[in-house]
């Protein structure tokens, strides 16, 4: 703490005060600030560019559309621009603090006027952030879908450096990191399980989402708690000008979003819902056992947005989702709920602040039908309560300071199981609850020096404490539990801390090309007890503790960015190296479910990954897309696993290619395609066999010494839209998507089985999830 104050305040003083000089000699500085919004619906625009032509520099709007620039007195031409919108240019004579609010209009479909392409369309070159990708919702919607639902998590797996972990699943691996090393945020609340139906769909309903940004590295100091990436998803605020309804009807699921003003331009709301009816298909199944099964999910997003006055903005948002599965002798349900209350406050023209209260809940239940002596139920949940304060201080055009503090209280109940009903033969078994507090304090500055250099430097200090009531088992050197220590309520019985520097340097050669370097250190205090290749909803998060050290990662990256043809072609190459300490894996045949001695199943060691990522992105008016290629390696080395020899991580796929393209070939017709290719997953295969009790059992090789066959797949989609007529409010389109067009049976897993006729004969059997899957969706909007 002392460290923070000793460096922070002198830094602030140095950067904001001018050298001692006579007042008259100094040109006076004034601040231009304001909010940038979408003229059609009042939504705040995040990351809109404000560019001062005379100074060849500027700023971008923050998450709430606010911007601030402090410039010397004088005449300026300021360009306000944002991708997909018409640029606005304003001439200003700055002799006072000025507030300019801007509303940008979406670019019309048929554009006859010349569109002013702002220089800042080269954001990928000129901004000092690297290893990040901002996904725009329109792009996500144009990607061919699986079963009619396009989602963010599938879309980011098409980016360089992001690998899927298992087909259909929504776990993803960023730069060789584990799926639990990604921080997924929805309006600043952590989402612990971002998947529905085992991962075939994600919890994000595109119609309610405004903004998605993925950080693969170069993670800003405001984020902490996960090693490998941050997926920051922001919901729309709701149309504050008029009612708007968007929806879609598909084969598997349907969705509806209603948004509108409660008080025009002041209070708006948005409510979005989605439900599947996949169980209807089970009713048609040839397996009689499946016909009565229930299998569905639903989710609901809601938000109210209140612009109290120019300096105060209040947001209340929530998400609620559930998956339900039920058959004759089992039922299962799980889901996330999140709620956030945020107050965005402008202390001055230069100092913006955001205060957030967050509640997040993930729970699941598994059981047998009630009413018998053998009825059984198992419940588990994880709850977070958090408070954050984030500040942005726009000192002058060359310095933007961001600092803040956050604290999250984690309450985890790993599992309570037992019989229901008074006649039960089952006693209750409970894995003790655990409580912990995760705190972070950060400060960072982005400083522009001269015309070519920008330096980003920051520090995050993180603190993690285990708090009683809690039970900690003590293990001997062979991981056998010896005894346990019980801590009373309220006692802080363990503390870990981390000092996480985040540094980046940008050098722009010119408007079209730049080179960037970054280094970041991240700590992770909460991890997932997940042993299977694909995650299940039953995986449980567990905290660092006296027996489990926090994971730590150091990542360095270098990249070269180059744009062509007026920024319509973006190219980049990034090379990274990541080293992780205290990564976890589990012993052979680990028992993760309902195990109060779970910490005895963990083995820790180190991991490292490195790679090169190439991206070429094209964005013309009618044609767009990208090609990404990642060459990478991800290894682990853990003393008790694989005899202590290094082995490939489960998501190590040396070659990964994605080609995404969409083309609007007629005003009402567009087509899009994507082709993905990845080296097969590493796998452990048998190299021998033994016969025991009539069963042939495999004798295995070194861990992950083999690979499945390479994975590749082509998806196509065609969309037919309603007539482009500005006056008609009702717009619709029909989308036909075909997943896996050439019906490749990509291996999902391989089992080794004994032939039923001749038990001496064994053979390998491949399980594949999807053949060719077509789907049709009808979307509407008014």
């Amino acid at each position: 703490m002392k460290f923070f104050f000793l460096t922070f305040f002198p830094l602030l003083y140095l950067l904001s005060s001018s050298p001692v000089m006579a007042d008259e000699d100094l040109p006076k500085k004034w601040t231009i600030s304001g909010t940038i919004r979408d003229a059609s619906n009042g939504e705040d625009l995040t990351g809109a560019t404000v560019f001062v032509t005379e100074l060849k520099s500027g700023t971008v709007s923050d998450f709430y559309g606010n911007y601030s620039m402090t410039l010397p007195e004088g005449h300026y031409t300021i360009q306000y621009s944002f991708v997909g919108f018409r640029t606005i240019q304003k001439k200003v004579f700055l002799d006072n603090n000025t507030v300019i609010h801007i509303e940008l209009s979406p670019a019309a479909e048929t554009l006859n006027e010349v569109e002013v392409m702002s220089d800042q369309a080269n954001k990928n070159v000129a901004r000092p952030e690297m290893s990040t990708f901002k996904m725009d919702i329109k792009t996500i919607k144009s990607i061919p879908s699986l079963m009619g639902e396009v989602d963010i998590i599938k879309a980011i797996q098409l980016l360089p450096g992001v690998q899927s972990v298992s087909e259909g699943g929504s776990g993803f691996s960023v730069r060789g990191g584990a799926p639990d090393q990604n921080l997924i945020l929805l309006d600043e609340s952590t989402v612990y399980n971002a998947s529905h139906l085992m991962g075939f769909f994600s919890v994000f309903n595109n119609d309610a989402i405004k903004d998605v940004k993925l950080y693969k590295g170069d993670i800003p100091p405001i984020y902490g708690g996960r090693l490998s990436s941050v997926l920051d998803v922001r919901m729309k605020e709701g149309n504050s000008k008029r009612f708007e309804v968007t929806g879609g009807i598909g084969i598997i699921a349907s969705r509806l979003t209603v948004e509108g003003p409660i008080w025009k331009d002041r209070i708006s709301f948005i409510v979005s819902g989605r439900r599947t009816y996949a169980d209807l298909f089970l009713a048609l199944s040839s397996e009689e056992a499946l016909r009565d099964n229930k299998l569905y999910f639903y989710d609901l997003n809601a938000k109210v947005n209140y612009r109290i006055d120019e300096n105060n903005h209040l947001f209340v948002s929530g998400y609620f989702g559930r998956d339900v599965f039920k058959n004759d002798f089992a039922k299962m349900s799980w889901g996330n709920s999140t709620g956030t209350i945020r107050w965005n406050h402008l202390f001055s023209k230069k100092l913006f602040a955001n205060f957030t209260f967050v509640y997040s809940d993930y729970r699941y239940m598994l059981g047998t039908p009630e009413g018998t002596t053998t009825s059984f139920e198992w419940n588990s949940n994880l709850r977070d309560l958090g408070l954050k304060g984030d500040f942005s201080y726009y000192i002058n055009t060359n310095n933007t300071l961001r600092f803040g503090i956050s604290g999250t209280y984690h309450m985890i109940s790993p599992g309570v199981a037992g019989g229901t009903g008074s006649e039960s033969s089952y006693t209750e078994v409970k894995v003790p609850d655990n409580y912990s507090l995760e705190t972070g304090i950060y400060a960072g500055n982005e400083q522009k020096v001269g015309e070519h250099w920008t330096f980003k430097y920051g520090l995050r200090f993180s603190l993690f404490q285990n708090i009683g009531p809690g039970t900690v088992y003590n293990f001997d050197s062979l991981y056998n539990p010896i005894d346990s220590t019980v801590y009373p309520s309220g006692q802080f019985y363990n503390t870990y801390y981390g000092i996480e520097p985040r540094i980046g340097i940008l050098y722009t050669f010119n408007e079209k090309s730049s080179v960037k370097v970054s280094y970041s250190r991240t700590n992770q205090y909460l991890q997932l007890a997940q042993n299977s290749t694909a995650g299940t909803p039953l995986d449980i998060w567990f905290p660092a503790s006296p027996n489990v050290k926090p994971q730590v990662a150091d990542q360095g990256a270098v990249g070269y960015f180059r744009n062509f043809r007026r920024n319509t072609i973006e190219t980049s190459v990034e090379v990274y190296y990541k080293h992780m300490n205290h990564v976890i894996d589990f012993k052979d045949f680990a028992q993760l479910l309902l195990n109060d001695k779970l910490e005895g199943e963990i083995r820790e060691g180190k991991g490292w990954s490195y790679g090169a990522e190439f991206l070429v992105r094209l964005s013309e008016k009618k044609f767009g897309g990208w090609v990404s290629y990642t060459l990478s390696k991800s290894m682990r080395q853990i003393p008790e696993i694989n005899n202590g020899d290094p082995y490939p991580a489960p998501y190590d796929k040396p070659n990964n290619i994605a080609i995404v393209a969409n083309y609007q070939f007629l005003p009402r017709w567009s087509v899009s395609a994507n082709w993905v290719y990845a080296t097969g997953n590493p796998v452990t295969f048998p190299t021998g066999r033994a016969e025991i009790g009539g069963k042939v059992i495999p004798i295995y090789s070194d861990r992950n010494a083999y690979r499945y066959q390479d994975y590749h797949r082509l998806d196509l989609s065609v969309t037919f839209s309603s007539k482009v007529n500005e006056k008609k409010r009702f717009k619709w389109d029909i989308n036909l998507s075909i997943y896996n067009v050439y019906d490749r049976h990509n291996t999902w897993s391989i089992n080794f089985v004994q032939d039923e006729e001749d038990p001496n004969v064994t053979y390998a059997e491949k399980i594949y999830l999807f053949g060719i899957v077509p789907s049709v969706t009808f979307n509407f909007h008014f």
């Binding site: 680990a590 479910l593 066999r689 042939v696 004798i699 080794f752 004969v761 399980i767």
Partner: protein, 281 residues
């Protein structure tokens, strides 16, 4: 409990995935000794089978280990096992008067005539755990489960609360053993039932569609409930799941952990039995 989770997820999976047989080329590994056998507290003749490992697609019965000297010891007495059946080699039997004593630790000692993996001497030890008394069993048909229904063998017994127990279940139909291979054997721990009176919990499920193992009204069904060690319980579970990879819930494949030393594979088990019979109505 685990069975519940696995079967739930498996059913969901069946609805969505497809399987096909594939050709695969695999490497080879060095040969190891495989030990498979067990004794109990009932008086009978017990068998221990000694075989060798082979390449994964060997597709023949396991190569047998003959002419080994096999002895069984409880620390005081030593019993010799002999290859008694001339038509089947590699099976070593005790006398038919042998019975194990609850609480004793039995060690199987093997001296090979030819070394395997550089060793000629292998051994395995197991303690014979006691088992609760089975009061009675009940056969109940669940007609709606599966394709033709499922028979449950329900258990009535008092579970001892003062210790951690592991159980193994075998059943006989008209005195013929039905659970003749390891994947038909059911095992359980006592986590949820410790100290309770077991009031009709099903221990064994019999798929009525499998005509060779199902029961009919009039059959005499006998349940043999055995008290086993934790190691044998883990071993049986590991054997049952080996070779199966379902990305949702199996972890990375690993070699089963037996109790044979010097790199041998398999288990020599000792357990005590409790019996009960019922006539199917």
């Amino acid at each position: 409990m685990k069975r519940l989770i696995y079967s739930t997820l498996l059913i969901f999976l069946m609805a969505s995935s497809c399987t096909e047989r594939i050709d695969l080329t695999l490497d080879e590994t060095y040969t190891r000794l495989v030990v498979d056998g067990g004794i109990s507290n009932d008086t009978a003749s017990y068998q221990v089978s000694l075989t060798k490992t082979a390449d994964y697609f060997y597709n023949e019965p396991a190569p047998r280990v003959v002419d080994a000297t096999v002895r069984l010891s409880d620390g005081i007495n030593s019993y010799a096992l002999h290859e008694t059946d001339p038509s089947v080699s590699g099976i070593y039997e005790t006398d038919s008067t042998f019975s194990g004593i609850i609480g004793e630790t039995y060690t199987l000692d093997i001296d090979l005539s030819e070394p395997i993996d550089g060793e000629t001497n292998y051994s395995a030890s197991c303690r014979m755990m006691k088992v609760a008394r089975l009061d009675s069993i009940q056969l109940v048909l669940q007609p709606d489960w599966g394709t033709d229904g499922v028979w449950e063998i329900r258990v009535f017994a008092q579970e001892p609360g003062d210790e951690v127990n592991y159980y193994m279940f075998h059943y006989f139909r008209n005195d013929t053993l039905m659970t003749d291979s390891i994947w038909k054997v059911a095992v359980s721990d006592d986590k949820y039932i410790n100290g309770n009176y077991i009031n009709g919990l099903a221990a064994v499920y019999i798929n009525n569609a499998n005509f060779w193992e199902t029961v009919h009204p009039g059959d005499k069904v006998t349940l043999r409930m055995s008290g086993i060690t934790r190691e044998y319980y883990d071993f049986i579970n590991q054997v049952k799941i080996s070779g199966i990879n379902i990305p949702f819930f199996t972890g990375p494949p690993a070699n089963v952990q037996g109790n044979v030393n010097n790199g041998g594979i398999g288990f020599f088990a000792a357990y005590s039995n409790s019996w009960a019979s019922a006539i199917v109505k």
